[in-house]
Amino acid sequence: MIPMWPALQMEPLAEDALLLRFGEAMELSINARVHAAAARLQERLAGIECVPAYASLLLRFDLAQWSDGDPLSSHRRLHEAVLAALQDGPETVHGTREVDIPVLYGGVAGPDLDDVAAHTGLSVAQVIARHSAARYRVAMLGFAPGFPYLLGLDPALAVPRRGDPRLSVPAGSVAIGGIQTGIYPQALPGGWQLIGRTPRVLFDLAAASPSLLRPGDGVRFRAIDPDEYQRLAAAESRR
């Protein structure tokens, strides 16, 4: 343990996997450390795959590359290399990318918006205003390729997941699950409350970087009307 990373714990997860834990909570400050460490380690340690999550960072490595002949040495050597790499690095880092996500709120695009309003005691207009006012961070991607778990939801908008998960949530659905908000990149089963839909394509294998969002990115939602949705959707399909 090193002073600059007071809460850092390292745990061997598997023969070729080391988990770095920076805390136990879904908090922006902890998540910022995860991304800072990921950026630092990616830069300093060749051939390591970094998988950031809310409060932890998984490192997957090549056993042979990290061993000094004795297979048992790789975890120890990687452990030491991680400490050395993090020693003088910045403890938090904020991504420079800001991604604008246009959203058509409510109606068919967001069938649970009324329920969310009822549950929170806010009007539909207030839910939309608060959801699109906040500034979010991509804490991690998971569940499906390009699915962002976003931190930064206004606590007043936190609503429980649905008791009856949907077998298929349409691609582009913007949803709230507890204190998290996210976007379904493709049609998927899901239990989050659907409040709107974006015409942006979140995951495109034909793109140079297939995921629209990357860990640590800033995200803002912007309310749009059905005409703009149609226009943007048409533009996306021409790309």
Binding site: E11, P12, L13, A14, E15, D16, A17, L19, R21, E24, A25, M26, A38, E49, C50, V51, P52, A53, Y54, A55, S56, L57, L58, R60, L63, A64, S67, P71, L72, S74, H75, M140, L141, G142, F143, A144, P145, G146, F147, Y149, Q186, F203, L205, P210, S211, R214, P215
Partner: protein, 327 residues
């Protein structure tokens, strides 16, 4: 050069070593369930380490080869015939143009592999030809093969003098599957997971003393374990963190889930164990209804076993390559 799927079997997919390097974007590795069996199938037909092979499950597919093709079957011991001629597994076979290969049930095990000389000439997706059924990514849009699918075969080195054969020809030698296929039912080696100590005392003992059955709900993502219900001392509220194949999770219902090749990138259930990587292939060959048990291992032992097996596999791969060259 191609083959056509006449019957797809129960679940047949193209698989290779997987799709590493994209987990941060939510893309899992997927790839073969039984790594040594896949690697040896490719070696037996003279392929390099990156070629995809067919992975079939419990009941194999029926395939027609449009050209004379060298193939090898490994993994589970599967009934295989071309017309009246039975084909053995774990060796190389050359099947003549127009052959229909019927793969039936398995006498033992759960997953078989079929490699073709030259590999499958299908476009890789994010660097891999593995099929990720959950993410719908890979060849054929990430779905299992269906009747009527045509799979292009790459240009392998030619097989001199064999273009005119009329019945299947076998290599004069084959591999002993014994070290690579789990005929025994010895316990699988399990490391204690981060939340092992959150299990109550009876559940800690039960994990290593009781047996579990592989549930019918099992698939390439996970093997669900029926049997003794495991309990935590108190419920845990966890934030999601990365998972890897072999992670043994405990959802609130108390039925443990052992993650497999298509493990999701992240998960939020308590992690009570981690299967030794060397035993992932053994787990892959256990079928729904089979019983499994765990014995406790250490990271040191698991790592040593993995390193030893890799070395043994590499020696065998080298020997196969030399024998094929001298043939």
């Amino acid at each position: 050069m191609s083959l056509t799927v006449l019957k797809p079997g129960l679940l047949t997919t193209l698989q290779d070593g997987g799709r590493p390097g994209h987990a941060a974007l939510g893309v899992g590795r997927a790839g073969v369930m039984d790594w040594p069996a896949w690697r040896l199938a490719n070696a037996l037909v003279g392929n390099g380490p990156d070629e995809a092979a067919l992975e079939f499950t419990l009941v194999g597919p029926t395939l027609r080869f449009e050209r004379t093709t060298m193939i090898a079957l490994t993994g589970a011991i599967t009934d295989a015939r071309v017309g009246q001629q039975a084909l053995p597994g774990w060796t190389g076979c050359i099947v003549p143009a127009g052959s229909v290969l019927q793969l039936g049930g398995m006498r033992d095990g759960c997953r078989g592999y079929l490699a073709v000389r030259g590999g499958f000439a299908l476009a890789p997706v994010l660097g891999s030809r593995s099929t990720d059924l959950h993410a719908r990514m890979g060849p054929f849009g990430g779905r299992a093969l269906q009747a009527g699918d045509r799979l292009a075969i790459g240009d392998g080195a030619p097989l001199p003098g064999l273009a005119t054969i009329e019945v299947p020809q076998l290599l004069r030698w084959g591999l002993d599957p014994q070290p690579w296929f789990d005929y025994g039912r010895a316990p699988l080696a399990l490391l204690r997971g981060h939340h092992f100590h959150q299990l109550d005392d009876a559940s800690q003992r039960a994990l290593f003393e009781n047996t579990f059955a592989i549930s019918k709900d099992s698939n390439r993502t996970a093997s669900r374990l029926d049997g003794h219900r495991l309990n935590l001392r108190r419920p845990l509220e966890l934030v999601s963190e990365a998972t890897v194949p072999g992670t043994l999770q405990l959802p609130p219902a108390g039925q443990p889930i052992l993650l497999q090749a298509e493990a999701p990138v992240t998960g939020g259930y308590p992690r009570i164990g981690q299967l030794a990587a060397v035993d992932l292939a053994r787990l892959a060959q256990r079928r729904p209804g089979d019983t499994i048990s765990f014995r406790e291992t250490t990271l040191a032992e698991a790592t040593q076993r993995l390193a030893r097996r890799r070395l043994r596999l590499q020696r065998l791969l080298d020997r196969i390559e030399r024998r094929l060259e001298s043939a």
